[in-house]
């Protein structure tokens, strides 16, 4: 049935108003909550939104923009798709009082000359809601702005929200929607009710939902944002990272390393381990072992700041940063200096698996003396990792990539070599730049001739 749209009364003293602008054209599809037009009253320009969905049909003799007309003057109709507008059939619309109250201003910039406004009409202009109803509306995802209140003063109370939620469930439940479209509508937050109104008699398919979602996106633009509470993991990571940057004095040193021998070695190990069904040592495992060798030689980096003291650790316990679905975890491989590469490979395989499954214990993630973070698989060359306090340094590992390198400048010999950037971030409170640079230099040598470090 056609719903009449009239010049609304926007304040108790308002007698006339004028259309400032039509925001929808004749024949446009209007969704519940859409702003149809703006009205200029004596106080302000107000946006008028629709309580219903349908096709907008503006009266041929509708007042012109800026023309002042009495409140209640017919302006347009909302009709269902395929339904002729009353002015086309010549039958006057039976506009009841209830239908006239389908519109309300979206803004609340209305004051009747400072008088306290007390009328049912104005209460509808300013919906009030009980705290409980507001809470439950949030829990059930009901947009209470469009709910009619049944409290004594027109206040929206719990029963109104529950009824609205039920209504939404009934409406969407009785629609003819393909299961894929229903799921997609939920994901993309497309209102199936209004989509159905725009497609009378049709079964809603995936394509309809996609189209509707695209329209919503284009209307919302890029400013749409979503909010989600911090997960426990995220909160812990946030606290740790911020604490590290606020506490430590991080400096990052970067060097490019020729990893050709390391690549060859890994290839060999992989072939060998795969042949006998053992864990294949990863680059991280190889680097852990080489880092341990470096730390034994330069123990100043295998240290932590404890109050007024610097504590050097005899054991090299290396944390490996693992990216799991729930966030970043750093399981620790203990006593790397005494373990064989094979042992390390086996342990790290188990720890990484447990990290991804979210099974790591606190013990498995604590006690590290140095960490390694590898972003090579994402084609990252170099980066500045954040120190995993209380440790004093962390190694950032980039990708291994073949490059043309000068081997002998005088003889003008170049060669293709497997190159790798290593970034060492250290805490300048604990160690100075020169010894840290020596450490990275030592690691560079070890990586370039890995057998020395793996003996």
């Amino acid at each position: 049935m056609a719903t009449e749209i009239v010049m609304p009364r926007l304040g108790w003293t308002m007698e006339t108003g004028s259309i400032a602008e039509w925001l929808k054209k004749d024949g446009d599809s209007v969704k519940q909550g859409d702003i149809i037009f703006t009205v200029e009253s004596d106080k302000a320009v107000n946006e008028i939104e629709s309580f219903e969905s349908g096709i907008l049909r503006i009266l041929p003799n509708s007042p012109a923009i800026g023309e002042s007309v009495p409140i209640g003057t017919p302006l347009a109709y909302l009709v269902q798709p395929g339904e002729p507008a009353p002015f086309e059939t010549g039958v006057p619309a039976s506009a009841t009082a209830a239908e006239l109250v389908q519109l309300r201003p979206a803004s609340t910039a209305i004051h009747a000359n400072g008088h306290t406004i007390k009328s049912e009409r104005v209460d509808q202009l300013h919906p009030t809601i009980s705290p409980r109803a507001r809470r439950i509306a949030g829990e059930l995802g009901v947009d209470w702005q469009n709910v009619a209140g049944t409290g004594r003063t027109g206040r929206i109370v719990e029963r109104d929200i529950r009824a609205a939620a039920e209504q939404i469930a009934v409406t969407t439940g009785s629609l003819r929607v393909s299961p894929v479209a229903r799921r997609m509508a939920e994901d993309l937050k497309v209102d199936l009710g209004s989509l159905a109104a725009a497609l009378p008699g049709q079964r809603i398919e995936k394509a309809h939902v996609e189209q509707a979602a695209a329209q919503v996106d284009s209307r919302r633009g890029v400013s749409a944002e979503t909010r989600a509470p911090l997960s426990t993991i995220r909160r812990v990571i946030a606290t740790r990272m911020a604490a590290s940057l606020h506490t430590a004095a991080p400096v990052t040193l970067t060097t490019e390393v020729d990893a050709t021998e390391l690549v060859a070695l890994r290839k060999q190990l992989k072939k060998d381990a795969a042949a006998i069904g053992l864990s294949v040592p990863s680059y991280n495992d190889l680097l852990a072992k080489l880092v341990a060798e470096m730390l034994i030689a330069l123990p100043a980096l295998n240290a932590r700041l404890d109050g007024e003291e610097i504590v050097q650790s005899a054991a090299v316990n290396i944390g490996i940063a693992v990216n799991a679905e729930r966030g970043l975890f750093v399981p620790v491989i203990r006593d790397v200096q005494t373990k064989s590469l094979r042992q390390i490979a086996r342990e790290s395989e188990v720890l990484i698996e447990r990290a991804r499954a979210g099974l790591l214990t606190t013990a498995e993630m604590s006690g590290g003396t140095f960490s390694i973070s590898n972003l090579g698989m994402y084609a990252i060359d170099a980066f500045t990792p954040i120190i995993n306090l209380p440790e004093c340094a962390i190694l950032g590992v980039g990708r291994i990539v073949p490059k043309q390198v000068v081997i002998d400048a005088e003889a003008e010999i170049v060669a293709i070599r497997q190159m790798l950037f290593l970034s060492l971030t250290f805490d300048h409170r604990v160690i100075d730049g020169a010894p840290a640079a020596q450490a990275l230099q030592r690691l560079k040598q070890l990586v370039e001739h890995p057998l020395v470090g793996l003996l």
Binding site: S130, P131, R132, R134, G151, R152, V157, E158
Partner: protein
């Protein structure tokens, strides 16, 4: 189980405690040979004699002050005021000494004293014999305030009051004295600060105080016939107040009415409303409402007297108004 009246249940509790502990004694006007104006001590004089059931002259300030001193020395006095209105003559002793002495002595002195009496409007007792005054006592730190609504509670709470090392105002509504209830044969005590859910319901919570509990239950029965489900809470002690039970109920129902015969301004309803507003603001579906006795001296005329107190009908109306909010 035996059926006892409210007054007999309280007296049984008193007798049990006096038999158990020889340091307990009762002081008041006509509580000796006469057995108390409301029969609160009937039969006890024969058992324990004038030393432990001590009649006094009409000097409230004097005998309350004396009991304060006695409590400091380690005895457990019970002052029976008959009509509690006359407690006003001893307010200085109660507020300034009894309520404060534990604090002032850093806890070295205890104040195990029970101040009991009949409260409330009823029987054309007129304006000097109809007061309740409990909001005033709830306002003072150091005092416990108990308002039993039925025979079972009066016995269990009186025994707890007598064993309390803090001073307790034990206020019994005179209209309840002849109400009967089932009393277990075995001994029991009811802790302070534990409200009772007198009736479970889902649509609105009503906190009713003292004599209002029974009337509210009648109103809830009447509404149940119309399919309306009301939860009735009897706080039993107002200090300490079990706001947790009240808040949980409001979480369930979303609506709260407090029914109290005493005056509304600065009353217990105002206190409960303020606390629930903070503890459960997001649970409220309607403004918290109060139904109180009229803010006026109590008239003698039975017709006028009946008109100033909440009735089953006015409670029913108030609940319906709350549901319409």
């Amino acid at each position: 189980m035996r059926e006892l009246t409210y007054i007999a249940a309280g007296r049984e509790g008193l007798a049990e405690e006096m038999a158990r502990d020889a340091t307990i004694f009762v002081v008041g006007e006509g509580i000796g040979v006469r057995g108390g104006n409301f029969n609160t001590t009937q039969g006890l004089y024969e058992l324990y004699g004038p030393l432990r059931l001590r009649d006094t002259p009409i000097v409230e300030r004097g005998f309350v002050g004396m009991c304060c001193g006695a409590a400091m020395t380690g005895t457990r006095p019970i002052v029976d005021f008959m009509f509690v209105d006359f407690i006003l003559d001893s307010i200085g002793e109660i507020f300034n000494q009894i309520a404060k002495i534990q604090y002032m002595s850093s806890g070295r002195l205890k104040m195990p004293i029970v101040l009991r009496g009949a409260i409330g409007i009823g029987g054309s007792a007129a304006t000097h014999h109809s007061g309740s005054y409990f909001p005033m006592f709830v306002n003072i730190p150091g005092l416990r305030v108990v308002v039993p609504s039925n025979p079972y509670d009066v016995k269990g709470l009186l025994k707890t009051a007598i064993r309390s090392d803090d001073p307790v105002l034990f206020l019994e509504h005179k209209n309840l004295y002849n109400n009967k209830g089932q009393i277990p044969d075995e001994e029991y005590l009811i802790p302070f600060g534990a409200a009772a859910i007198a009736r479970e319901g889902t649509q609105a919570s009503v906190v009713a105080v003292g004599s209002m509990v029974r009337k509210t239950l009648e109103a809830a029965d009447a509404l149940a016939k119309q399919g309306i489900s009301i939860e009735v809470i009897d706080p039993r002690t107002l200090a300490p107040l079990d706001i947790g039970t009240i808040s949980e109920s409001v979480h369930k129902t979303g609506r709260l009415l407090i029914v109290d015969e005493t005056f509304a301004p600065c009353g217990i309803g105002a206190e409960i409303a303020a606390q629930v507003m903070v503890a459960g603001f997001d649970d409220l579906d309607a403004p918290i409402m109060r139904l109180n006795g009229l803010h006026t001296p109590t008239p003698y005329s039975p017709a006028l007297e009946a008109a100033i107190v909440p009735t089953t009908q006015s409670i029913t109306d108030a609940i319906q108004a709350l549901l319409a909010e």
